[in-house]
């Protein structure tokens, strides 16, 4: 969102609408935020594209970059899922409905949805990085968008079933006839009906077709590292494989310098890159 006249460091005033744990171990918490000023909501959704992120701001604690986990059609709120790791995410976990919070965004490029029209989509996620892929899937599910894309395949792996996010929705996805869902966990659990194994292996097992397809991969670095070559092996050209990157960020608008990958800034030029683009950049991740 361009900052006409307004400081790009000034967060949009928001309030917590809902806050609930996403994982059984309470390490992941989802926050749904509503806008204090409806004008801010209009501007946000006019600019928003799935795959973008925001900087959530807890005054006195700092900011944390999180991918947007909701689609615009869901309502005038923005959803995020935060893993409790540092001081800001710990403060985010302590928030309750009604609490004030700041948000800067939407930031970054998001998924190239126009470019993907008419193609089959293979969505591959691991762990809490699935949040923006969830936003993407929700976006595609809207009746006015679904027809623009072909076959939809989702592969989602987590370490344990308890760490799987958005459980109710994903359970419902299995019933849909317009998509294929493959869930996986790393180690066997009782009553688990889906795949067991690491995501790259599940991808090899599912063998999504590269014909008229694009693949989107978001996950921890180790998963991404092994999934990208698995897709190349299946015949996906590097131009059709996309991933969303993360690095430490502060400003979110390509000024503070820290998230660079060669000459590109993940915050401003990404976070979504094709494998073809990544192959031309230094391996500085």
């Amino acid at each position: 969102m361009p900052n006409e006249g307004r400081s790009p460091y000034l967060p949009i005033p928001m309030h917590v609408l809902h806050a609930y744990y996403e994982s059984t171990d309470n390490s992941l918490k989802t926050l749904e935020l509503s806008f204090d000023d409806p004008q801010d909501a209009r501007e946000f959704f006019a600019a928003f594209n799935p795959g973008q992120f925001c900087l959530l701001s807890v005054i006195g604690k700092g900011e944390s970059a999180l991918g947007v986990a909701s689609a615009a059609w869901e309502g005038d709120f923005v959803r995020f899922t935060a893993q409790k790791l540092g001081s800001v995410t710990t403060a985010l976990h302590a928030l309750k409905p009604g609490d004030p919070i700041g948000m800067r965004g939407p930031l970054g490029n998001g998924f190239p949805l126009e470019e993907w029209k008419g193609k089959n989509l293979v969505i591959i996620g691991g762990g809490c990085a699935f949040s923006t892929l969830y936003a993407l899937t929700k976006h595609l599910h809207h009746p006015s968008n679904r027809g623009d894309y072909g076959k939809l395949t989702v592969i989602y792996g987590t370490r344990t079933s308890g760490l799987c996010m958005y459980k109710q929705d994903i359970a419902a996805w299995h019933q849909r006839d317009d998509m294929e869902v493959h869930q996986a966990i790393d180690v066997p659990e009782q009553d688990w009906l889906h795949h067991v194994g690491y995501v790259p292996d599940v991808v090899k097992e599912v063998r999504p077709s590269p014909v008229n397809s694009v693949a989107v991969v978001c996950g921890p670095p180790i998963m991404t590292k092994f999934t990208l070559p698995a897709l190349v092996e299946l015949g996906f050209p590097p131009e059709t494989i996309f991933t969303s990157l993360e690095k430490r960020m502060k400003c979110g608008i390509g000024k503070c310098g820290r998230c660079n990958l060669g000459p590109k800034y993940i915050c401003k030029d990404g976070p979504v890159f094709s494998l073809a683009e990544l192959n031309a950049l230094p391996a500085d991740l």
């Binding site: 005054i59 670095p221 000024k255």
Partner: protein, 339 residues
């Protein structure tokens, strides 16, 4: 049109400017020269052979400044970005040139930094060319020069008793309305001084093909070799006129969100909450510093991100010399086979 400024008239002129501007010029403080606001009875400290220790970028991007002020009940407000008119006098061309590069970062089309922009717009910059270029400097090697005009509103050439003033912008013209015009001889003399200064500077390293060498040798043991004696103190970046990285932290007790200069030479710079660090050692961090200046800036604005001011050479506590590092880089193989 060139003008003549008599040196014995300079103080009078600076004082006259002080009526309309806050005037910054190099003055001595604690063994170094700094750009400080002129007070009554000021003494200038033109150390021609050296730049001020801290580059004047600090007048546009302060080492620490508030971005937001916290208000009661969890609110916050923007820090106003108005700046009173300022004049920087005696800036060297390398530092002024560097500012034009930082403009491309802070005044990008999509996200303009209001604090930077307001200060840039409110400031007139009068340069002093380097007729005795400093020994650690290498401006001519990297596409700048001791009399480069980039980023300046006017530039002075020292001709003994007088300065020859070249007006470069309207802002500059407005400053020097009272001065007499330079004769053709004087202009010629200045041109000779400028040419001689340039000619006195040896080419420090070959820049042709240097970017490709750095890019192709990303995984080379070269980086381990050149970073071995680095202490990771970060002074090379802190005093660099083209470095702009900053951190944003909440100073809860002061009630402010603050940005502070930061450096890619520190471990915590790129350390992620998960514990992962893409640049875990000084090897990767040195690679980032050099590659940013000599490769990534070229991709971004087709200019080397260094103006050859020489501060990193002069102030490195272990004597690491970027010129030597880059000469060595130029010896690297052109195509490295990837395993």
């Amino acid at each position: 049109m060139n003008l003549i400024l008599k040196k014995d008239h300079l103080k009078h002129l600076l004082n006259a400017w002080r009526q309309d501007y806050e005037v910054y010029a190099p003055q001595s403080l604690q063994n170094f020269t700094h750009f400080l606001p002129l007070q009554d009875g000021f003494e200038l400290a033109f150390d021609k052979a050296h730049n001020t220790r801290i580059p004047p970028k600090a007048l546009f991007l302060p080492t620490s400044e508030a971005l937001l002020k916290f208000t009661r009940f969890g609110g916050y407000e923007e820090v106003p970005s108005e700046t009173a008119p300022r004049l920087i006098f005696g800036i060297h061309p390398c530092d002024a040139h560097a500012m034009t590069m930082l403009d491309t970062v802070f005044e990008q089309e999509r996200y303009t930094d209001p604090l930077w922009k307001a200060r840039r717009e409110a400031t007139v910059v009068v340069g002093l060319g380097c007729d005795e270029p400093c020994k650690t400097g290498f401006c001519t090697t990297v596409g700048s020069g001791p009399f480069n005009h980039a980023g300046l509103d006017a530039i002075l050439t020292d001709l003994g008793e007088i300065f020859l003033v070249e007006i470069l912008t309207d802002k500059g013209e407005y400053l020097f309305t009272q001065l007499e015009t330079a004769s053709e001889d004087q202009s010629m003399q200045a041109s000779e001084v400028q040419q001689a200064a340039k000619a006195s500077m040896p080419i420090a390293f070959e820049t042709e093909g240097l970017k490709q060498k750095l890019d192709q040798n990303f995984a080379s043991p070269y980086w381990e070799e050149v970073s071995r004696s680095c202490l990771g103190c970060g002074v090379c970046t802190f005093l660099c006129p083209t470095c702009f990285c900053f951190d944003i932290v909440d100073e809860a007790q002061r009630g402010e969100r603050v940005r502070n200069w930061d450096t890619c030479m520190f471990r915590t710079y790129s350390l992620e909450a998960s514990g992962h660090n893409p640049r875990p050692s000084r090897v990767e961090r040195t690679r980032q510093r050099l590659s940013h200046k000599y490769s990534y800036w070229l991709d971004q604005i087709n200019q080397i991100g260094c103006t050859g001011c020489g501060r990193c050479v002069r102030y490195c506590p272990v004597g690491l010399d970027i010129r030597a590092m880059l000469r060595k880089a130029h010896q690297l193989p052109s195509e490295v086979l990837h395993a």
